[in-house]
Structures are given as C-alpha cells and as structure tokens.
C-alpha cells in the first residue's frame, strides 16, 4: 500500500476518512517498513505489532474519527502500562510499569496507535543517542552519523517514515536538537503545558514532553492531544488558549528577534548560511527582523550543567535495587553495598558522571558556590528573554550549531557533546516554548531553524513556523527514501 516516507498525519487522516486505506493497512505499512529498514537504524527498542493491529482492527470495525487509527512512536522514557519501559538504561531492562503516564493516557484516549518505544540516551542524558544501554541509533540521512539526542529514536523514526508522529522529551534540547539533525519538526512546549506524570524524571524543573512530526500542522494536532492540566502533576497547567492548527500564509506584523551577538561564535558556516536564508524567507513573508540581546544566554550551558545534574542526582536516587529494576548483590553485602553495586552495574558512564557532578554541586560546602550560583544565572537568563520579548514577538536562532556529527566523534569529550545544546538550553532554563523546523541542508545534512516564544505563546510559534515552512519548502524525506520513490 502507501509509501509511508513523507506521509503526514494529516494525510493519514485523509486516507482513513476517505476509506482509501483501513487502519490495519496503514498500521501494517508502517510496521512493515520498520521491520524492513529499522535493523539499519535502530530507532525502535521494541515494536508492538499484535497490540497495534488489534487497536487498528477495533477502529476498522467500530468506525473512527479525528486522529483515531493514526500511528505514533513513543520515547522509551514514557511509562506504558503493561509494556516494558527502560529509559534506555540497563537498570530498568525488563521493567514493566503498572500505569500509563498522563501524556500516554491522552494519546491512547485520542485513539493514536502506538507502534512501539523508541531508543534514547540513557535517562535522556545525551545529545546523540549513543548513551543508550541498548545500542546507538543512526541518522536516516547518513547512517555514519548520530540522529541527535536524547530523543534520537523518535526523530529518526519520523524522518525514516516509521511513524508520522512521535513523542520525545526535552530537558536541554532533547526534542529540538534531534529534530534539527534529522530534518523533522520538533517542539518543546512551555514548561507545565504537558503533564510529566509517568515521565521517568531527569531534571524535574526542566523536563517537558513534546511532539515530533513532518509538518508544523501535525505538531499542532499532537499538541492538542497532549497539552493540559493533569492532577497527577502539580506543575501542569491549563493553556490560556487552546492549541490551534495553524494556517497562516505570511508573517506580516510579526517581529522576529535575532540575538546576533550569541551567534557570532561556534556556529558552522553551513548552518549559519541556511539559518540566514531562513531569516530572508521570513522577511520575504513580511516579518520585521530586529536585533535582540540575550547577554546571559552564553552562560546557560554551564548553569545547566549544574542545575540538571543536581536534579538528576536526586531523581535517580530512586534506582537502588529495592522496589524495581536491577539488583546486584553478593554474599555478605549490606544494603549500602547492594545500592553501590546495583548502581555501578546499572548506570552507564554519562549517567554516573552526571550523578557525581550533581551530588558534588549539592554537597556540603559547595551548594551556594555551584547550585545556588546557577539558580541566580537562571534568573538572569529569564530576565533577558523577558526584556527581549518587549522588542519582538519571537526569537530565531539555529537549533544546533552543527549538522549531525559522526558516531563516536564526541564520545570521549563530554563538554564537546554538551556544546550541541548551547542554543537550546537557555530556552529550558527560562521554561519557554520553542520549535525546530528544517530550513535547508548543509553538506547534504538537515539544518534546524529554532523559533522561541514567550511562555504559553505556542499558537504564535506554530503560526509563524507554519508560514515559514511553506516558504522554505523543505523535503523531509532522506535521500535514500526520496530516490526510491522517484
């Protein structure tokens, strides 16, 4: 049946509504493509063919509407009742949650059909998906390169035509950066817009769930499903206005701020060129481009690498071999010995590094000098954005300073890996919404264009991104898939 490469969720709905395909045929087409091509990419940790087909058959039998029957892929950090959820960690291998996360419940209630769980950096700590305990994921545009991370399985799945929609999580860029590196659209909503209940926690003041899709409109469709208050997450809120599926064709009256000083260093020339072309497209659509300053954004990365590991060191204390997951124990061990052995065996190198860093930053004598200082920098960064949004409606930056890098290239240098997120981390620290959409190619690899808005300005971002997407006309199909179709 249908070639799923480049197939949008909106088009899936049209095909289903017109009864050109059944839900079973649609779900089968995606699962068959995964079976055929995912051995070369490893976007999925697990698929659920039988369960997905049973759900599809239900819609074929009983009728359907809206997003019902449209496939989706879920990052393996989202708890799924009765279905293994590992967060990419050996310490949770085989773990079967007893409940669905809030976001997963909403996806199920909307009738989206989960095809399976996607690969990720262990506990979402990483920018390349190389930190998964279950093997790397490869970039569909060039299989020698990383898909970005931590939600690299979800971004690769959407780029490769394995699912029209996917969910990821973004603590410091983990949706936007892999979206950029795989040439798809990814959005981090405002902190609080989506329930974190049943999201295995990394850094609770920063974590946020969000969508991947091939188009901005598809992102909006999925946001409509997942946004909203959940009584199981006290930090979740109701959006001030419902998410609208955008139809703007131009950017007249929109002021876009560019923080030029922040972009002076460290951006690959090809990325800069594609970003500048995106800015010219925005101007061509009628946007007014203004200069803005984010004087403290350059300090976001070091502040983030105190705050996020500090929160992680507390959150990951729950993995101790007592209530769930791995336990490693030898004869004569005390409980303290068992904790240490279990965590040594269960956690990978990057997770251990961050637990150590966070524990150090929170330990007696260092708290004010590190964690306290980082929280003050966080205030400065929030204030910078607030000031900037006095002069513009949206801020534009490249999403990642580079295109997808080679597998193994940054593994030995943690700070070089962390630098992938230099332009996404400030947005998390300020709790703001941001989208990445593909704006062109550099060296044959996708470049991401990031639009950031004030808190709860999701609709403003979606509207501008949709208009820009139309003008850019990016073909999201990786070359291999595009050639096969031609």
């Amino acid at each position: 049946m249908t070639d799923t490469s480049g197939l949008t969720a909106e088009r899936c709905i049209e095909l289903l509504d017109a009864r050109e395909v059944s839900c079973r045929e649609l779900v089968t087409a995606y699962l068959d493509r995964i079976d055929r091509e995912d051995p070369g990419l490893h976007a999925f940790l697990r698929t659920r063919r039988e369960a997905a087909l049973a759900e599809a058959d239900g819609f074929d039998r009983d009728g359907r509407t809206g997003l019902q029957g449209v496939p989706i892929a879920l990052k393996d950090i989202l708890c799924t009742k009765g279905e293994e959820t590992t967060a990419g960690s050996r310490i949770l291998a085989g773990h079967v949650p007893i409940y669905d996360g809030g976001c997963v419940s909403r996806v199920k209630a909307a009738g989206l059909v989960s095809l399976g769980k996607t690969n990720m950096d262990e506990f979402a700590m990483g920018s390349s998906t190389e930190n998964s305990a279950f093997g790397v994921t490869r970039n569909p545009w060039d299989t020698d390169r990383v898909p970005g991370g931590s939600s690299g399985g979800s971004s690769a799945a959407v780029a490769a035509g394995f699912a029209p929609l996917a969910l990821g999580t973004d603590t410091g860029g983990s949706i936007r950066q892999p979206a950029a590196l795989c040439g798809v659209v990814g959005m981090k909503p405002t902190y609080g817009a989506v329930s974190r209940y049943g999201l295995i926690a990394f850094a609770s003041s920063l974590d946020q769930i969000g969508p991947f899709a091939l188009t901005v409109r598809d992102c909006a469709l999925l946001l409509q499903v997942i946004c909203g208050k959940d009584e199981c997450d006290a930090t979740s809120v109701e959006l001030p206005e419902p998410i609208a599926v955008p139809d703007a064709q131009d950017l007249r009256g929109v002021r876009i701020g560019v923080p030029s000083a922040l972009l002076e260093q460290g951006i690959e020339p090809g990325v800069r060129d594609a970003f500048d072309a995106g800015i010219r497209s925005a101007q061509g659509l009628g946007a007014e481009v203004v200069e803005v300053a984010l004087p403290h954004a350059g300090y976001a990365l070091p502040a983030y690498y105190l705050i996020a590991p500090a929160e992680a060191s507390a959150n990951l204390s729950r993995f101790d071999g007592v209530r769930y997951g791995l336990r490693c124990e030898e004869d004569g061990d005390t409980i303290i010995d068992m904790y240490g052995r279990t965590r040594a065996e269960g956690f990978g190198a990057e997770v251990k590094r961050r637990i150590m860093l966070g524990t150090y930053a929170l330990s007696a004598g260092y708290y004010d000098a590190y964690y306290g200082m980082a929280q003050k920098v966080r205030t400065r960064i929030r204030d910078d954005f607030q000031t900037a949004f006095g002069a513009c409606d949206l801020i534009a930056m490249p999403t990642s300073p580079t295109v997808a890098f080679r597998i193994g290239e940054r593994v030995g240098d943690p700070w070089a890996m962390y630098a992938s997120d230099v332009l996404t981390v400030p947005v998390n620290l300020a709790g703001l919404p941001g989208i990445s959409l593909p704006c062109g190619l550099s060296e044959g690899l996708p470049v991401g264009f990031q639009l950031v808005g004030p808190a709860f300005a999701e609709n403003r971002i979606l509207s501008a991104a949709h208009a820009l997407e139309g003008a850019l006309g990016f073909d999201p199909r990786p070359p291999a898939a595009a050639e096969a179709r031609a």
Partner: protein, 94 residues
C-alpha cells in the same frame, strides 16, 4: 577547578555509587574539566539576584484531600527484585 581522588570517593559514597579503583582517576579528570567550564559563571556579578528554582509562576498547587485507592500491592511487588511477605526484602542494614 581541580578536585582530588579523595573528593571523588567522598562524592561517590554520598551518591551510593561504587567506583572501581581504575575509574577514580578518569572521573576526577572529567569532573575537573566540567567544573572548569562551570567556573565561567563566577565572572558574573550575582550579588542581589534572586535564585530561580522553577520557571513557572505556580505555587502550592493542591487537589481536594479525598481518599482513593492505592496501587494494588501485588502489582507493585511484581516489579520488585526480591519481594517477600508482602514487602521489599533488602540485605542487612548494618
């Protein structure tokens, strides 16, 4: 910011993380490098700045204090590495 092997071992003990002796030096180097980058922050004058713990302007979100069932004990214990007598069995605490 240089840290010592003793610092690394102290923090590992706080974090309940057993480190192999051959890993201590590497961890010391990596943490020292990262903390070196973090020192960048000390250039800023932050004297009168209030800290931000959380970006959202929400505090004390409460729900009605209504009783509701907990998770079934058997379901919870099914995930445990060593369930016993309706609880979690652990090695001796001392």
């Amino acid at each position: 910011m240089a840290i010592s092997d003793a610092d690394v071992l102290h923090v590992a003990r706080l974090a309940r993380l057993r480190l192999d002796p051959e890993d201590v030096g590497r961890m010391r180097e990596e943490l020292s490098t990262i903390l070196g980058h973090v020192q960048e922050l000390s250039k800023l004058d932050l004297g009168d700045v209030a800290p931000t713990a959380h970006a959202l302007d929400v505090s004390n979100s409460v729900r009605p204090d209504a009783a509701r069932p907990s998770w079934p004990r058997d379901d919870v214990l099914r995930q445990a590495p060593d369930p016993a007598d309706g609880g979690f069995r652990v090695p001796p605490t001392a």
